[in-house]
């Protein structure tokens, strides 16, 4: 059954089983690999995308649940998003694998909170694991991104 998807402003049709997680549709069907697989059970945040602006774990979101909704992935952040600028300015990344998810969570945070406190940042980001331990620069990056936004 073909499911209509709106990803990064473009319309796509995915002929997949409706219970397929959005993550695998994005990666395998649409071929956009910036969104990462980390755990498959919403424990690590590597797969975070925006669904109608809300940070969402794509690995546990059935594709049928987001048909027609506006989905944004790291590719759709555009490259000049304040979060991406701040990430470059502060050189946040190390291995980089979790960072697409980190940036998507961060972007959703500063969209809804123009001046996040340390507590706000921790609350919004605690679901995003980073095995390299870049948390300190992620925190600083979010504060910088909020200034740039």
């Amino acid at each position: 059954m073909a499911i209509s998807l709106k990803v990064n402003g473009s319309s796509h049709s995915a002929d997949v089983s409706p219970d397929t997680p959005l993550l695998w549709v994005i990666r395998d069907t649409l071929g956009m690999t910036g969104t990462k697989f980390g755990c498959g059970m919403a424990q690590c945040g590597s797969c975070t995308v925006h669904v109608d602006g809300v940070a969402t774990r794509a690995c546990v979101t059935p594709v049928s649940a987001v048909a027609g909704k506006a989905i944004t992935t790291i590719e759709g952040l555009g490259g000049n998003h304040p979060v991406q600028k701040a990430w470059l300015e502060l050189d946040v990344v190390q291995c980089g694998y979790c960072q697409s998810g980190q940036m998507m969570s961060a972007a959703a945070l500063i969209n809804s909170n123009k001046n996040p406190s340390d507590a706000d940042i921790t609350a919004a980001m605690n679901g995003n694991l980073c095995r390299c331990g870049t948390y300190d620069r992620i925190r600083a990056g979010i504060k910088r991104a909020a200034q740039l936004a």
């Binding site: 997949v16 089983s17 397929t20 997680p21 695998w24 990666r27 395998d28 069907t29 071929g31 690999t33 910036g34 969104t35 990462k36 697989f37 980390g38 755990c39 498959g40 059970m41 424990q43 690590c44 590597s46 992935t73 790291i74 590719e75 952040l77 490259g79 991406q84 990430w87 470059l88 050189d91 946040v92 990344v93 190390q94 291995c95 980089g96 694998y97 979790c98 960072q99 697409s100 940036m103 940042i121 921790t122 980001m125 605690n126 679901g127 995003n128 694991l129 980073c130 095995r131 390299c132 331990g133 870049t134 948390y135 300190d136 620069r137 992620i138 925190r139």
Partner: protein, 726 residues
Amino acid sequence: MKTTVSNQGRRAFVQGSAAVGGAFILGLNVPNAGAVTVSHGTSRLVDFPGDAFAPNAWIRISKDNKVSIYASRSEMGQGVYTSMPMLVAEELDIDLNDLQVGIPPAAAPYINRIFGAQLTGGSTSVRDGFTYLRQAGAAAREMIVGAAAAEWGVDAGQLTTSKGYVMGPGGKKASYGSLAAGAMKQAEPKEPKLKDPSQWKIIGQPLKRFDSPYKVNGTAEFGIDVKAPGMMIAAVEMCPVIGGEVASFDEAAMMGSPGAKKVVKFNDTYTNGVAVIADSYWNAKQALTKGAIKWNVTKNATLSSDGISKMLAEGMAKEGVEVKARGNVDAALGSAAKKLEAEYELQFLAHSAMEPLNATVLVKGDSAEVWAPTQFQTLVPPTVAAATGLKPEQINVHTTYLGGGFGRKIEMDFIAQAAVIAKAMPGVPVKTIWSRENDMMNDSYRPVSLQKIQVALDSNGMPSAYKYKIASPSISARLFPGAVQKGVDPFMMEAAENFPYDVPNWHLSSTFVDTGQRVGYWRAVSNNLNAFSQEVMLDEMAAAAGMDAVAYRRILLRDKPLYLGVIDLAADRAGYGKPLAAGHFHGVAVIECYETYGCLISEIEVKSDGKIKVHKMTYAVDAGILINPNIAHQQIQSGVVSGFQNAFSEVTIKDGVVQETNFHTYYIPRMAEVPPIDIHFVASNRNPGGLGEVGVPLVSPSISNAVFAATGKRVRKMPFKPGITA
């Protein structure tokens, strides 16, 4: 900064020995100067035509002056795609704008000379390459200058270089690229002259990482992101008990599942199980669940964490193999004024890199392509050859970015398995992806260890004898048996072997205990295990002597200025000895790890429920010359956060099965628990020490020592229970 990083040398550029001017001074093959195609990220391609300047394995300069430098270690977060090219670029004297960093294939020039293999690990990348990478740049620059001198008919001594150009008398100026043809005719300098460090323009600069732009925009290609025309994807199930085999499965049910193309039973050197190859990962995984796979478990079916603890105790009771000794430790213990004795026990840990294990293999009639996030290129061709029946020279290795490695991606299991699976569909690229559960339950775990230390103190509380025995599984006995000499595994003895404290009678011994569980190298390896016991015991000794932990260490290290340097710096920056907030306590630990010295002071609080809150960590580090202080800072921060796993994570086993299956049961520190980490480097002109691992080992002992300060209780068994609080 527009330096670009090319991902995947899709076409091997070392194709035998089409030598230009004989062997390179550094004993390296000179790669073929033919077409070099390196893709960058997933899209842009840069071509280096045959007339590019190719003086050695590291450098390509095209006629239009585009420079490519090949980084021969795997990039897994530690910044080698930046630090290693910086070393070449310093002497080559180029503009870092427009520099392309390339990823080479598995080939002799790229062997890590510390290990004798193309391997990333042991904090060796910069330590290994510090001189020869600069020489490679200097040699190329001399050849270019020589070409300009010949062309202009002037003495080379009259020429200068800057940012990819040669300048000569009378305003003459030529780009490196325009001199390519002449430079290739120049003889290789036998002893390329290196700059005096006072002239360095790149080394020591806190440059931004060259790979950041691709990781920030999502285009960096990790192993799991590899795409190839017609590619299929495999999901796997492996026997959860080591040594178990597939008993039965329902192939028809799996093949009837949407998208399924092939079912493969594998029983290779490393793993046993069943794979489904399908048109997408999800379809492969769904098909797998329909297979009703049953296992035949013979040995290890009753293996448990308690049973493993007993095995370690039995190992401890046996006579060990002497590793090193001085004086007469038993005599000194016998006549001691005061004796201390304690046992320390360390747990299994999983590597749990954020990128689950994966590899993509295309098996053709007479060759195979392998794309993998590997730390160990040298072993890939023989591994895939064994799995496919091809010859090692028929295997082309394409290293991708690694979404974390931590030692797990040194292993060949996931690559051998992917090759066996891909062989079932010749001509089709097959990407095998492990689920998080596969990854966590089929790891090569950081070993458990039981350690006993006996100390004799004289009437002043100073140690007269120190007897240390380690009972642990040996990683090298499985992976590199040749590294085990006379029953001693050097990778089990780190930190213990070079015990720095002044004790006249000292004895170190070990016993191998094979628990049945597979063990592997895990970031900082046995430094984590041994520094815990040693540094907690140092605190026990100081307490028994009635002395302050820092003052006591300073006395025992009084002739070791590199240790004293980091201790004094950490103590100063942490405000050690000054009043702390109510309920806060300091704990100290010290190490030398891969030629880098560190002192970590942790400030903690023990909450009323027994949970530990870490408020601040102050780490003083002497890593010698810092190639890139920005990345050095990242690495120490990363290591310290990794160290939280040593303190608070654990892998347990019941009925032969690993009980921690995913991040809901296996602890990885989250933002809320990680305190500010204050990092200070000692200024130094010593050759670089390692940075990727030294951050890890001191976290657990410094916290344990702080817990003692807070509660009077010694915690000698890891992890801390009940654990950590945000």
